[in-house]
Amino acid sequence: MRQAVNWQPDFEALVEEHQSMVFSIALRMTGDRGLAEELAQDVLLELDRNLHKLSSAEHARFWLRQVAMHRSADALRRRKVKAPTLGFDVWDELEERHGLLVSEGDSSLSIRIEEMLASLPEAHRSVIILRYQEDLTPDEIAATLKAPVATVKSHLQRGLKLLRVKASQTLKEYVRGS
């Protein structure tokens, strides 16, 4: 508590520490690098204006996550950015064109997972980002998104299920082979 009261925020250090987190959330939520960069800049500038309201480093991290998620969701709605809806046919096409499938290692798999994630509904995507990128518990995700814990758990389960269905064809080799 005493630490929180005595907290002296250093804006530059906060930007340095959290720019990657804010940018990654925006990028994974919108699937648009340019928009994500714009959003990250806006969120960090908003932090500068609201610094006096924050009481600790942990509070600043929580606030940044929350605002990054909300701004990304707003941007998606405002700009109607369509997440890349890559179906399995597109995967096949990618494999044919770039030879990504069998011989590729974790990097191509990561790209595939990223793209499958982008094709998930927004609510599922947001909880998966907070769970696996930010390593938050369902309770923490619920607090960040201001949603009931049960809803978060359900979105998480459905999101994972969807990912597994989407991945079932292309990832089988990797999952079984590991």
């Binding site: 804006f11 530059e12 930007v15 340095e16 720019q19 990657s20 987190m21 804010v22 940018f23 990654s24 990028l27 994974r28 690098r33 960069e37 990250a40 800049q41 960090l44 500038l45 500068d48 974790d106 798999l109 990561s110 997972i113 990223e114 994630l117 998966i128 980002i129 696996y132 990128q133 390593d135 994972l160 990912l163 597994r164 991945a167 990832l171 990797y174 999952v175 590991s178």
Partner: protein, 122 residues
């Protein structure tokens, strides 16, 4: 108790696949490095905005100070005017009182003269 080994196998496989997917998700979803120059752009814009904000505050302060001074001078002038008016009224009342006193004296003197004239004529 009958245990279906195929079911158990499926469940086990399902759990393994789920765990594997989660492990791969964690690995794939590591934070991306921020774009080059993002921090510099944010800091420069923040600095610019702060200066702009300070500039605006300074203008507002000047305007407020001017308004306060104008109000003070206006109030002082109005007070002086009111005071002058009050003094004028007082001077007028005093003059009226003096005229009335002079008239009373004149009246008394005329009464006395009139009384003497009446006595002499008798």
């Amino acid at each position: 108790m009958f245990v279906d080994h195929d079911d158990l196998k499926d469940e086990w496989k399902d759990a393994r696949e789920q765990a594997d997917l989660e492990r791969r998700l964690r690995h794939a979803m590591q934070r991306k490095p921020a774009p080059v120059g993002l921090k510099q752009r944010v800091l420069a814009t923040a600095r610019e905005r702060r200066q702009h904000r300070h500039g605006r505050i300074w203008i507002f302060q000047r305007l407020a100070a001017t308004a306060v001074l104008a109000a003070a001078f206006g109030g002082f002038a109005a007070y002086r005017q009111h005071e002058e008016h009050e003094k004028e009224v007082q001077r007028g009342e005093e003059a009226t009182r003096q005229v009335l006193t002079a008239l009373r004296i004149t009246n008394k003197t005329l009464d006395r003269v009139s009384t003497r004239l009446a006595e002499n004529s008798r």
